[in-house]
């Protein structure tokens, strides 16, 4: 059977070339080679200047600590939830309740969390003055504390839904393909509780399947922009933020420093992964030490009691944050101590409406176009690789390449190359850079569901004389309509939330709700910021709702009409 490799080649090229090319393009200027600035001598002096700059090592430490600890918190929390709710057979409802948090843009989440934790934020207001005794907002250095604690916790909070959903999908996968339930029964018959059985028997089967995505999340977190920019310390800030500041500097010589910082960012991500591997080994040793029913059950017993509390704290915190910014967006006079505004106004929304039209339109059409192109190319590739498991597996591996390179690094280099070639059309550069970020997630959202479709159904359809197109339109499309709709909505939502690809691809000339929200967050009116954040939250929710409506109400319903 002939395999058409071209869709796979095109998809991988469009993703990998900008990612790898972009990464390479930042290395040369880091060593002093940038002909555009008449720098043609290779030198290590830029690194020397960087290493001796004030706060450099603190910045490296902050970046590594915040990324590693945030992922550690997110993985442990998700593991505890999975082990507890698996036992209660409530994984599906847990996964549903966390799904809305997944599409919450980073910038909106950071702004909402900041509003809860700020000295004049809603949490202190709820507790003052009765509990705290404060009649004025305290002069605490939060949320931008020097240790980056709020930033670390916020990153963890943002990653928990993603890692949790990842675990749930892998648990279902393992359940289908292995003797999952029998292992649990066997462990329980040996005296282990269901919770202990999960940690000791099932986790080693689940973890290898989520390891690569966890590395990707770790790399993403170590180079994330929105949360460190809004909630992180400013002197020093993380490497990615320092890099972005150098990049935006009017002094073009700072481009060389930015390139050196990009190389450092790659090294920092590699070190973070190395530290994570050490943590994995320590975790494995600890797990083996618990391989005794009484010991394991005793140690895990108290955890079960705090799981619900932890779940309600996380969901409660996010709900307070959401309602907090809802209130702030319609707040009139809202002095400290008052939990609720003294009066309400639509003035913030009215003033936002005037300035919001172009960014909203830009964000929507960029997101919807990119999602549609990604869905089209990913589905074409899946169809073209339907008879070659090996080629499809290779694409699935290659698709992780841009997720394993810090985005700020390759975006910087890729935007430089792309804007050079598509100078005439910055919007094309933005679309291409959004594609690089969105396509891997669309592929990941599609591939497992595609492979889970019973191949015998397709064989039967073909032996009944149906062409590949007829099989796709009349069998696969109706059966996978929800998967397609969710992948499209996910792609659009990820595109809506992109800050760097829009900023760098459009050379700062294309505004979206996200770029405006991030720009406002560094000093704009808090009420206006809350309006932008809410629109950021509403956009993916609307797209997901429409996608569910279309896939659920039968607009894509299959079945041939009878004559």
């Amino acid at each position: 059977m002939t395999i058409n490799k071209w869709p796979a080649v095109l998809l991988c090229s469009l993703i990998i070339l900008p990612a790898l090319g972009g990464s390479i393009a930042v290395v040369l200027p880091a060593f002093g080679y940038l002909p555009a600035l008449e720098q043609t001598q290779f030198t290590f002096s830029i690194f020397n200047q960087l290493f001796s700059s004030q706060g450099f090592y603190s910045s490296v430490r902050l970046t590594i600590m915040s990324s590693v600890f945030s992922i550690l918190i997110a993985v442990i929390t998700s593991l505890i939830f999975a082990a507890y709710y698996y036992e209660k057979r409530k994984l599906a409802s847990l996964s549903t309740s966390l799904r809305p948090l997944l599409v919450l843009p980073h910038a909106a989440a950071a702004i909402a969390i900041g509003f809860v934790l700020a000295p004049s934020g809603i949490l202190i207001r709820m507790l003052s003055p009765d509990v705290t005794g404060f009649v004025l907002p305290p002069s605490w250095a939060i949320p931008n504390d020097g240790f980056g604690l709020v930033m670390t916790l916020s990153l963890a909070l943002k990653e928990i839904p993603f890692i949790m959903l990842l675990m749930v999908s892998v648990i279902y996968q393992v359940q289908r393909t292995s003797l999952f339930n029998q292992y649990v029964s066997a462990a329980q018959s040996l005296g282990y509780s269901a919770f202990s059985s999960f940690i000791l028997i099932l986790w080693p089967q689940i973890y290898p399947l989520i390891r690569l995505p966890i590395f990707a999340v770790l790399v993403y977190t170590s180079a994330s922009i929105e949360i460190p920019l809004i909630l992180g310390p400013s002197s020093p800030s993380t490497i990615a933020i320092t890099l972005l500041t150098s990049l935006n500097d009017v002094d073009l010589q700072q481009r060389l420093t930015a390139s050196a910082l990009a190389v450092v960012q790659i090294l920092v991500s590699v070190v973070s992964i190395f530290i994570w591997i050490v943590i994995e080994k320590l975790g494995e040793k600890s797990r083996l030490m618990l391989a005794h029913p009484n010991k394991a059950n005793t140690i895990f017993a108290p955890i079960k009691y705090i799981v619900r509390l932890l779940f309600f704290i996380i969901v409660g915190f996010m709900l307070i944050a959401f309602f907090g910014i809802c209130l702030l967006s319609i707040a009139g006079h809202w002095p400290f101590k008052s939990v609720l505004p003294l009066n309400f106004t639509l003035q913030n929304w009215m003033s936002a409406i005037h300035s919001i039209q172009t960014p909203l339109f830009n964000g929507l059409w960029i997101g919807l176009t990119v999602a549609l192109v990604c869905l089209g190319l990913c589905v074409t590739t899946l169809e073209a690789t339907s008879s070659s498991i090996k080629l499809r597996a290779l694409v699935t591996k290659l698709i992780y390449v841009p997720l394993l390179i810090p985005m700020v690094v390759f975006m910087f280099g890729a935007s430089f190359i792309v804007t050079l070639y598509f100078e005439f059309s910055p919007i094309f550069s933005v679309l291409l850079l959004h594609f690089v970020v969105v396509a891997p997630y669309v592929w990941i959202a599609l591939v497992q569901q595609y492979e889970d479709l019973d191949p015998r159904l397709i064989s039967v359809a073909k032996t009944l004389g149906a062409s590949q197109m007829k099989v796709f339109v009349e069998v696969k499309l109706p059966l996978l309509k929800q998967t397609f709709a969710v992948a499209f909505a996910l792609g659009a939502s990820i595109s809506f939330s992109q800050y760097l690809p829009t900023l760098l691809g459009g050379s700062g000339n294309i505004d979206t709700i996200t770029t405006e929200a991030v720009a406002l967050a560094s000093g704009g009116s808090r009420r206006l910021i809350s309006v932008y954040s809410l629109i950021q939250i509403i956009m993916p929710m609307v797209v997901f709702s429409i996608a569910n409506l279309i896939s659920g109400r039968g607009l894509l319903r299959g079945g041939n009409k009878l004559a």
């Binding site: 159904l457 064989s459 032996t463 079945g559």
Partner: protein, 207 residues
């Protein structure tokens, strides 16, 4: 007539199965073998669905026409598995109509088909509302409606309860005998093999 001329199926360069047989119209070729013996892989090759993990050599000839390089959908070789595999989003009628060549009076033809197997009035039902035996009958009707020139059966009765199995097997085999097309059946069940007359090949190798 269906001819399998010097067919060899390879996995990782090693021959896992070789067959050289002819099946006359209205006749059965039964291939028996344990799980993993490669019998389903042979059916996949005949259907044009061989996975890229395998290679095959030899010729597949149906009614004098060589088919081994022809796409599955143009081979006119029907396939039935142990599960009915009705398309779950289509009604019974839509399932039967899926492979029909006949474009005129489809509804009437399907009605007659359903009447002939005592399923009259079930055309608008969804597959999940039918019993296992009813699903098997609809699956067979769907296969017959596509007017195949040869039929492949892959463990067709192994998922049915013992009681339903005997009646369904009798019904399916009676229907197939009337079609006058060559039939290749793979099974591990001796009762299935005994229920049909014709050639029997036993595969003892494992892969």
């Amino acid at each position: 007539m269906l001819e399998l001329q010097n067919v060899k199926i390879y996995q990782n360069g090693k021959v896992i199965l070789s067959v050289n047989e002819q099946v006359e119209p209205g006749q059965f070729l039964t291939i028996m073998g344990r799980s993993g013996s490669g019998k389903s892989t042979l059916l996949n090759w005949i259907a044009g669905q061989l996975s890229s993990d395998f290679n095959a050599k030899g010729s597949l000839i149906l009614n004098g026409k060589r088919l081994d390089n022809v796409a599955t959908e143009r081979r006119q070789i029907g396939l039935m598995y142990q599960d009915a595999l009705l398309f779950p989003h289509m009604t019974v009628e839509q399932n039967i109509a899926f492979g029909m060549k006949q474009q005129m009076n489809k509804k009437q033809i399907i009605h007659d088909y359903l009447q002939s197997v005592d399923l009259e009035g079930l055309g608008e039902r969804m597959p999940d509302s039918l019993s296992g035996g009813q699903q098997s009958r609809v699956s067979l009707l769907r296969l017959m409606a596509s007017e195949p020139k040869a039929i492949l059966l892959d463990e067709p009765f192994s998922n049915l309860d013992e009681e339903v199995k005997i009646t369904t097997r009798q019904f399916v085999l009676d229907q197939l005998k009337q079609t006058s097309v060559p039939v290749v059946m793979v099974t591990h069940d001796k009762e299935d093999a005994n229920a049909v007359s014709g050639k029997l090949i036993s595969l003892n190798s494992s892969c």
